[in-house]
Symmetry: C2
Subunit: 268 residues, 2 copies
């Protein structure tokens, strides 16, 4: 069983809720990674929704409190079942405290993946063999189990921030895959959309960059192989920025996109 399958394992109950276990293996700092929580939630919705709507086409989440290692409850509610899509809500909680609440559109991604009439072209990424492994956590981070779950290979042009020289452009590019070789599926793409360091670091921010709201769209089933992720931010006001993520698969196909509003601590 892959690490991701293990981390997103669910036990169904007769009342429609599911039990899961969150682990430090997917934490960074004090919190279990939000992307992992989203994939866990989407997997429960997939189980609860109609069989012909297995994929999260859209996933919109708010994060109410950080996930901690330990037991969790995932409660999906299907609001509407249509012909090509179903709509659902899902809550992830621990000890009665909400961690995540999301609105989800389920469907069959492959039914809407062709033809490609227009597509955000994949930008130039440094070849994977020239990229820099991001598995060494800064000493300030006590917990960084998350970094061991991926091969995260940063484009050398976008790692200046890790050496104290943020470019100020607000862009990051990296190749990513699960460290144990597990291939990404549409549910896992939600984790990959939130797996890179915050793009705010490229603008000089430091410390925790909590996500206020996250909305991701899965646009295609990814081909096997590493995924190319680009993060960009365009508008930064006060302590708030939007972070746009795009993922291309090994064929150069755009497979997922997202935007999150995040809060960062910028230098004066």
């Amino acid at each position: 069983m892959s690490e991701f399958d293990d981390a997103t394992a669910l036990t169904a109950h007769s009342d429609g809720t599911y039990s899961a276990t969150l682990s430090d293996d997917w934490s960074i700092g004090d919190a279990v990674n939000g992307g992992l929580l989203m994939s866990l939630a989407a997997k429960a919705v997939s189980d609860a929704a109609a069989d012909h709507h297995p994929h999260p086409l859209t996933f919109s989440a708010v994060f109410l409190s950080p996930g901690a290692p330990g037991a969790a409850t995932v409660a999906p509610t299907v609001l509407r079942t249509g012909r090509s899509m179903s709509t659902a809500e899902v809550v992830v909680s621990q000890d009665g405290t909400e961690r995540l609440r999301a609105l989800v559109t389920m469907g069959d991604v492959s039914a809407q993946a062709e033809p490609i009439r227009k597509q955000t072209p994949m930008p130039v990424f440094a070849p994977i063999e020239e990229c820099i492994a991001a598995d060494n956590a800064p000493p300030s981070l006590a917990q960084a189990g998350l970094l061991k779950r991926f091969d995260l290979l940063m484009d050398p042009e976008t790692v200046g921030w890790a050496m104290g020289q943020p470019s100020g452009d607000g862009e990051m590019r990296a190749w990513i895959r699960f460290a144990d070789g597990h291939e990404a599926d549409p549910v896992a793409l939600l984790t990959f959309l939130d797996a890179l360091p915050p793009v705010a670091f490229d603008l000089g921010a430091q410390g925790w960059v909590p996500t206020i709201e996250f909305t991701g769209y899965v646009r295609a089933v990814p081909a096997p192989g590493p995924l190319a992720v680009r993060l960009r931010t365009s508008t930064v006001t006060g302590n708030l920025l939007e972070e746009d993520a795009e993922i291309w698969d090994s064929t150069g196909r755009l497979v997922a996109q997202s935007r999150q509003l995040a809060s960062a601590r910028f230098p004066a």
Copy 2:
């Protein structure tokens, strides 16, 4: 009272729900405009949430069935009240049938609007006096009350689609303001983010373009005057496209942004 205030008037009840009335005046085709429903919902959340969190910083909605003229119930639930933000959920329904469900982050937009560290620059728009009024509905549309609520002035470079010559670029630019002179506030920006014709028309799509999911962020309180709206789409697969909207105020400040996943009928 402005038309917008009239359309978003709410009566509070002791059980925490609100009554409202949806009108044909804000319909296009058979449905009351989704943006108007979102503003209505945000207004109820604003009333229910803490006084110092009056604005929708983020608004993420799914649309379950089209709004129709007549009575509506708006039911907000505050999930969490923090120091700088509150999180809420809100449902708009008619006769027990859900029209819209949304997750909302409330805060004080003006508290996070300075400094502007980075900002999507306003692109070149044709001067408002050279733009083309879009208040004439195509004859095929029986209902188009919505078009009378705005002065919607389309940039001549992005109206080819209305004359049967879509550019294929997937971009629209227009100036917009309420027809009765009412100035936009943060809640009204949600309506303006969804008030233009669908950008899919610029790719040759025709007919109804339903919104599957919409997430908007309000980034600043708009200055008085007309607003400049740009719509763009980048990835169109099968019948699905994302539509990105950006709104700049009369000072050139980016005041709102959104992305929606929509379904369109494209020519073969």
